[in-house]
Subunit: 259 residues, 2 copies
């Protein structure tokens, strides 16, 4: 199993507070010692920091915590390996370009008997995880259905991806975070929750390490920031817990209701 | 104009020495202040560090210089913007997946009247540079010629890419670095050189900053390390200067002669 963390915001926001909690689960308060990664979108561009060593010991993870990169969309993952050895090519998040956007994906869970289903050719995995192969298959199916040019309305695309995720959930546990840099999608198999923070902001206390933040001092009244995580990261706020098969779509921090 | 730096080695090698010289050209000894990026391959995996700020001031560039990531293939670029604003999506190197490998590319130069030539659909640019569009076009043409499955012999692929680069050179200046994670290709339009270091190793002195390295202390007798750069980085070694239209292919530090 692994832990997921993601953010969607209407202004460039730093995720240091939440990432500090997550990084502790990579070797201190959690067993996820087989690497970690985080993708920051800045405009249409993105950059991913990855390490195959535990996040609690990683030189690069420390830099992320000390150097706030402000971003509107973040996707992060810390890994406890089940399928695939501990190496950079098996470390999430995974990114592919489609329709002139970078699509970024991270998966928590494990799948079985997937080889026959996940037939791919246009998008091929570089590593050997079930997770990356599932990502390639999703993009392959999306291109088959919608073609090489981006549809004007993104909602039917994510609706279709949710139906693919339903199929994948039949093969095991499939908690997923997916973003095209503008939208952030979460799909729940058994462990995923989110919180949307907006004015009036209060204080929050991390569960995994002794850190308190006063969002009121870090934000402006117009900020809207949604954080998605495997398990709640704070112990004094109300997180929305998703049920099996639930999925949510966010844009600029705001939930987009299903069509 | 921009500066390119790349490495191919037969053992995981750190590039801190060369990168230290290059980073000085991003604002201290050179005018390339519009961002920089570096991609490290570790096995089939890769990670890219990028910043839209000058490399000589970048927090992340400092981390790269203090935290030696050992890699068999490195591609790096520092940018002086000509086409496209200074932003992360316009910052080299660019990466796309093809045939289950990450292909990484950086370009120095400027192209004109390219819009009609570079027709793409399967690989689309995310930013607005001529460089990224040329990269997408190269991959598009490679897939059209070789199909969706990787050929057993990589040399005809790089031979074909060199012929595409010849065409692109007709549109302007096109110095290029390209890697599939195993091979490293350099294509020269007007400024590119390389050096292959192997035993007996000596001392080298950086041109751009007051640093001397004794490779004999940093290497084993079996190491072979090729470094490619826009201009020589050291002033006491003999660099091979490429001529217009020259290209070279390296694997594990060793030059692969043309077929």
């Amino acid at each position: 199993m692994c832990e997921l963390l993601a953010m969607s915001a209407n202004v460039p926001t730093d995720i240091v507070f939440s990432f500090t909690g997550l990084a502790q689960r990579g070797g201190v308060t959690g067993p996820h010692v087989d690497g970690w990664g985080i993708t920051f979108y800045e405009g249409k561009g993105s950059r991913t920091f990855k390490d195959a060593c535990p996040s609690s010991e990683s030189h690069i993870a420390k830099m992320i915590q000390s150097y706030p990169i402000k971003s509107e969309v973040v996707v992060s993952h810390i890994r406890q390996a089940n399928r695939g050895c501990v190496s950079l090519e098996n470390t999430h998040p995974f990114t592919r370009e489609l329709w002139g956007r970078y699509w970024t994906y991270a998966h928590n869970g494990q799948l079985s008997d997937y080889e026959e289903k996940f037939v791919v050719s246009r998008f091929q995995p570089v590593g050997v995880t079930d997770s990356e192969l599932a990502f390639c298959w999703i993009l392959e199916k999306v291109v088959q259905k919608f073609g090489e040019q981006e549809p004007e309305d993104a909602r039917p695309v994510f609706q279709y991806i949710a139906s693919l995720a339903d199929e994948i959930r039949g093969l095991g546990v499939f908690n997923m975070i997916l973003s095209d840099g503008e939208h952030l999608m979460s799909y729940c198999s058994n462990n995923l929750c989110y919180i949307t923070r907006k004015a009036p902001f209060g204080q929050a206390t991390l569960i995994d390490t002794d850190v308190v933040i006063d969002f009121d001092k870090e934000t402006t009244p117009n900020d809207i920031v949604t954080v998605i995580a495997t398990r709640p990261l704070t112990n004094n706020e109300e997180w929305h817990i998703l049920a099996a098969g639930d999925w949510e779509l966010f844009r600029k921090g705001v939930r987009i209701p299903p069509q």
